[in-house]
């Protein structure tokens, strides 16, 4: 296969060793309990950041210079030297996955807009039946009115006021990870339920809910699929685009699939359906040449 011949070149780790390392790192993964792919992704990315930060601190404390760390963090230059020394290290994880959201709150009394930035490694989107990722992203950035019990403390008015809040993407990440909230706590049932909704995801996507109307374009390159009807168990498979071909990974089986087969993982428009393979985490890569900036 193509992949095996490429492993050495791109520095890919064998899956077995990866699993061993993960188990060593966290005892949660040593049992046969079912884990959530999104939680795992978070764990993995955060753990990587921790490790990279630790690695960069070791030479720093010994030599008092920042040059060794620069090599470790993938060619990052001057940011550490010029920045405040408390500033967190920008690792390759950040460079690839981190974006910045800005939370704009407009006080309805004084019209002052308060913007608060927060970083993200992925976007978790609420989903609706028979919707698209585009529409889920729109809802994510839709304007929400804060009133009644949920008023906003306006610094200018120095009091709780009604306000309008909306989330915008200030800095789109290089790799946009979209997590579909398919596992939802249903209050009437008192338990979690898997939403098998049909949510279509295009092979190309643009973020239109950005601060600057940048229209940055993304291309889908991987999908984590949850197989199963319930929230507590199931199976994960994945689709990965490699060298212009889509590959289907199911445990030790790897198969080439046609691009049009991606649509079989959109979900179901009927609640009870034999189709239980649903796209759960989507990976989009920016195809705009300018977006790789530190």
């Amino acid at each position: 296969m193509q992949i095996s011949s490429q492993k050495k070149k791109t520095g890919v780790i064998a899956p077995k060793r990866f699993v061993q390392r993960v188990k060593k790192q966290n005892e949660l993964f040593r049992s046969y309990m079912h884990q959530d792919a999104h939680e795992f992704l978070n764990f993995l990315l955060n753990e990587l950041v921790d490790i990279l930060e630790k690695e960069s601190q070791v030479p720093k404390s010994s030599s008092e210079t920042s040059s060794p760390s620069e090599k470790i963090v993938n060619g990052l230059k001057n940011v550490l030297a010029n920045g405040v020394h408390k500033e967190p290290l920008v690792t390759w994880v950040h460079k690839n996955f981190q974006g910045i959201l800005t939370n704009e709150t407009r006080c309805l009394r004084c019209e002052t807009v308060t913007a608060r930035d927060e970083t993200f490694l992925d976007l978790s989107l609420d989903i609706e039946q028979n919707s698209s990722i585009t529409s889920c992203l729109k809802n994510f950035s839709s304007t929400e009115t804060l009133n009644a019990e949920d008023k906003f403390f306006c610094d200018k008015c120095c009091s709780l006021q009604e306000a309008q809040k909306r989330m915008k993407i200030k800095k789109p990440p290089h790799i946009l990870v979209i997590h579909l909230k398919r596992f939802k706590y249903i209050e009437q049932l008192g338990r979690y339920k898997k939403l098998s909704y049909r949510v279509v995801f295009p092979l190309e996507l643009k973020l239109s809910n950005t601060v600057e109307d940048a229209d940055s374009e993304y291309s889908l390159f991987a999908v984590v699929v949850h197989v199963g009807s319930g929230p507590n168990h199931g199976h994960y498979v994945s689709l990965v685009k490699s060298h212009n071909h889509w590959l289907f990974f199911d445990d030790e089986n790897v198969e080439m699939i046609d691009e049009s087969a991606v649509q079989t993982f959109f979900g179901s428009s009927q609640e009870y359906s034999s189709n239980t393979d649903h796209g759960y985490i989507l990976f989009y890569e920016s195809i705009a040449p300018t977006s790789i900036k530190s």
Partner: protein
């Protein structure tokens, strides 16, 4: 409030259809058990759900996404009662085709021959009558439904043709009966697209394209007269479906041919591509071979039709001509380049190959007069060709993602497209660019159509020519209706749109909007802020399933969902009295009013002349 550059005072960026007053003000008294309303309101009045057409329940639960239902509306004129033109008369107009028809009859076996000739030739009228009597009797016994179409001996009437799974169904448009009157089963692959030509001069008026890439042409009337569940009297084109495969590895094509001939090839498990192929069911083969995506008759095209495929190629066929000659075409040197090749052999059918794009062509549609052909595809581009000159005229890219459907306005001035960016795009042929984006669908737009029967309120006669009504259906289960007032939109476009920031007039963007692009060039995707937005006039949730297409007729609007449910919504003022004859639904078309029937489905608007 992201986009304040709507120029016509309409609400912008209204993704939520529930904000529409036409919907929220409705009471719930007329809801069906599924929670779906049986009517929707427009400024001109109420559209009511009159009929539903579907397939026998529970028959199929095929894997979704494999074969999306498309609908074609067809009209069979009273033809058999009057004798068709004599052979000499028709040979004077089209001698080639007549010869081809004879050839077809000879090559298809005696059963279909007698049936075929009986339906068309004067010489064997007696044999036809005899044949009819027999069929009629058996039909009465074995008929699965009311069968008004079968009992109507000449098949005259208006019919809906729709595909579900591996079957094509025919329903009587004017009957209250939910069930189809005819089913045609395809055992080898799923039918995915079809088109009807009521002006067909010889028998074959219906073309059907399959997931396997195979194409058939048949006489609809002949299908209705047959009681079996198989296609009868069909001409088969692109027989092995993979004949023109340019994206498939050669060894896979070979294996496919072997398997089709009942030979199980021995292949090593080393090649995963082949292993995967071996494991595939017949239906999946359609993904490897170049499945049909759209078929259309060429208007005024003398029996020619086009078949678009998932490999970016479009083939031109001559009806009823046996493809005995060498049907190969030169290798496509540059997949990214548009090229047209004509068959080397004059006996070849297809007669031409248009290589249009990389990736699938998702829809193809002719302008009413047949001058232009528009295609939309996986690469997100709309392309408009001068069909007879075989030249690219203009085109442009979607905001993002594939385009799924396209439709012409009756006057050929505008093209609608719908796609994976959830937008309904209005393309102007005069300006050779996108002039509006309709925002309102919460998922992909799967069908678009202009309403050629709608006329604007006559309060202001001067603007009448510039107002269009169109509709769209989406995978969000909604049908939206839109009014396009070009006077309101085009003028502000020349200037900086309101809400545009000072950074608006940077190089590429302003040139995109201020200059007409040269002939034959494709435009890049416009920026979100550059395109005026439309908001829907009406938003109506039609079904619980994603929708796949819509058709406007004089009396009604038809919607179809992916799983094969067709709904007929009668216009205000119609449908109070039940139509007693088929004529009441057949639109009479004057010469200045363009042909208006259409095709539902992702391939978009197909013109079908009705009852001239």
């Amino acid at each position: 409030m992201i986009h304040n550059n709507s120029n016509n005072g309409m609400m912008s960026s209204s993704s939520s259809s529930s904000s529409n007053p036409n919907l929220s003000s409705n009471n719930n008294s007329q809801q069906s058990p599924s929670g779906l309303k049986t009517y929707f309101k427009t400024p001109e009045g109420r559209y009511k759900l009159q009929f539903e057409k579907t397939h026998p329940a529970g028959l199929l639960h095929y894997a979704h996404g494999k074969a999306v239902t498309q609908v074609t509306i067809t009209h069979l004129k009273e033809k058999l009662a009057q004798l068709p033109p004599t052979p000499t008369a028709s040979s004077s107009t089209s001698g080639v085709r007549l010869a081809a028809a004879r050839l077809l009859g000879g090559s298809n076996g005696s059963r279909s021959l007698s049936s075929f000739v009986g339906g068309n030739g004067t010489s064997s009228k007696s044999s036809f009558t005899g044949s009819y009597g027999r069929l009629g009797n058996t039909g009465a016994v074995s008929s699965t439904s009311g069968s008004p179409g079968i009992s109507n001996y000449d098949g005259k009437g208006t019919y809906l043709i729709f595909n579900v799974g591996d079957t094509v169904y025919v329903s009587d448009f004017n009957s209250q009966d939910k069930d189809p009157i005819k089913m045609i089963n395809f055992s080898n692959s799923n039918p995915v697209c079809h088109a009807f030509d009521p002006e067909a001069k010889d028998g074959h008026d219906l073309i059907i394209g399959l997931n396997s890439g195979d194409v058939y042409s048949v006489s609809l009337r002949q299908q209705l007269q047959d009681v079996g569940k198989k296609l009868v009297g069909a001409q088969h084109y692109n027989k092995d479906g993979s004949e023109f495969g340019s994206t498939i590895p050669n060894q896979v094509v070979e294996i496919y041919r072997l398997m089709e001939n009942g030979i199980q090839p021995i292949v090593s498990g080393r090649d995963r591509y082949i292993r995967r192929f071996k494991e595939m069911k017949t239906d999946h083969i359609g993904e490897l071979v170049c499945r049909c995506t759209s078929v259309s008759w060429v208007p005024e095209g003398d029996g020619n039709f086009i078949v678009a495929h998932s490999d970016g190629n479009l083939y031109v066929y001559e009806k009823s001509k046996d493809g005995t000659g060498d049907s190969s075409f030169p290798v496509i040197k540059d997949q990214a380049q548009f090229s047209v090749s004509h068959a080397r052999s004059s006996k070849s059918n297809p007669i031409a190959r248009w290589h249009i794009c990389q990736g699938a062509i998702n829809g193809a549609s002719f302008s009413a007069d047949g001058t232009y052909m528009a295609t939309v595809g996986r690469d997100g581009y709309l392309r408009v060709f001068d069909y007879s000159k075989e030249q690219l005229i203009c085109g442009g890219k979607s905001y993002y993602g594939a385009l799924l459907c396209c439709a012409w306005s009756m006057d050929g001035k505008y093209i609608l497209t719908g796609g994976e960016d959830d937008l309904v795009q209005v393309w102007s042929m005069d300006d050779r660019k996108v002039v509006a984006w309709g925002e309102g669908h919460g998922s992909w737009v799967s069908g678009v159509a202009f309403d050629s029967y709608w006329s604007p309120p006559s309060s202001d006669g001067s603007t009448e020519n510039n107002v269009y009504r169109f509709g769209s259906v989406g995978q969000d289960t909604q049908m939206l209706l839109w009014d396009l007032a070009m006077d309101d939109i085009v003028v502000p476009l020349r200037r900086c749109p309101p809400g545009g920031s000072p950074t608006y007039s940077t190089g590429s963007q302003s040139s995109h909007w201020d200059n007409i692009s040269p002939l034959g060039t494709l435009q890049p995707a416009p920026s979100m802020r550059d395109v005026p937005k439309l908001s829907p006039l009406v938003a109506h949730r039609v079904d619980n399933e994603p929708l796949s297409g819509m058709i406007f007729t004089q009396e009604s609007v038809l919607t179809a969902c992916r799983e094969g449910h067709v709904k007929i919504w009668t216009r205000p003022g119609y449908g109070e009295t039940q139509p007693s004859t088929s004529e009441s639904v057949i639109p009479t078309i004057s010469r200045d009013k363009p042909p208006s029937s259409a095709k539902v489905g992702s391939s978009g608007y197909k013109q079908v002349l009705i009852g001239l």
